[in-house]
Amino acid sequence: MEQEKLKVEESLNIISEMVNSSKYNLSEDKGIYLMWGYAVAISAIIHYILQFHLEFKEAHYVWLSMPVLGVINTVYFARKSKKKKVYTYIDRALSYIWLGFLFVILALLVISPQFGMNVVYPIFMFLYGIATISTAGIIKFKPLAIGGVISVLCGIVAAYLNFEYQILLLAFAIVCSFVIPGHLLKNTK
C-alpha cells in the first residue's frame, strides 16, 4: 500500500472523497434550534396573554423558562463535545457567533431597567437578525437568511409600536428566523 504509485485521477478521487466525508452536517443541531425557537415564541405569546388579556402583573416571569433551556442547551453541547471526533472551522465560527449573541442579550437585559423593555425588544430582534443571517451564510442555508432579514424588519416596525405589539412581533420574528428554517433543515442523518 505504502509504496504504490497513484494515478492522478485516483489522487483527485481521494481528495474529493475526504473533503465530502468531513462536511458539516446541517441537521445535527436541528432539535436544539427548534427548542429555542418554539420556547421563545410560546413564552412571548403567554407573556402577551397574561399581561394584556388577563392583566397579570408578573407576566414577565414566563421568561424564567430561558435559564432552564440554557441548562439543557449547555448539557447538550457538553455531551456532544465529549463525543466529538472532529472540529471544523464551521463549528468554531458558529459557536462564537452564538456565544457573542448570548453575551449581548445578557448585557441588554442588565441595562434594560435603564431604558425600558420597549427600547430593548426591537434590539433583540436585530440581534436575532445578525446571528441568523451570519449562520445562514456559514452553513449556506437561504431560508435562515430570509428569516434573519424578517427579524430585522420586525425590529424596525417594533420600534414604533407599544410593548403589547412588540411581544407579538418578537414571537413572529422568532417563528420566521428559528421555527420555519429549523423545520426546513433536511434530516441528513
Partner: protein
Amino acid sequence: MFDPLDPLLHSQLRLAVMSLLMNVEEADFNFIKEKTKSTSGNLSVQVNKLKDAEYIQVDKTFKDNYPHTTCKITDKGIDAFESYLNALRSYIKPTD
C-alpha cells in the same frame, strides 16, 4: 511539462489524511481511521511520517483516562498540499 509530485503526499493513505485535515480544524485519530477505512497500525505509521515532515501536528492527551490523539495540519502542510494540487493540475491540463 509535468511538475514533480511530492512523494510524501503521493500515497493513498497519506493523501487521504492530509485531505481530511485540510478541511477541519482538528480531528482525532479514530475519526481519521474511520473515514480513511485504514487500520490503526498503518495509519499510525503514515501519521508519523507526516508528523516527521512537519506537515501535521500530533497531540496526545488523555480523555476520560483513555489516550486521545488529535491531528492538525500545519502551515507547512497546507503549503505542501497546495503545491501538490498545483502539480496535479499540470497533469490534467488539456494538451492542445
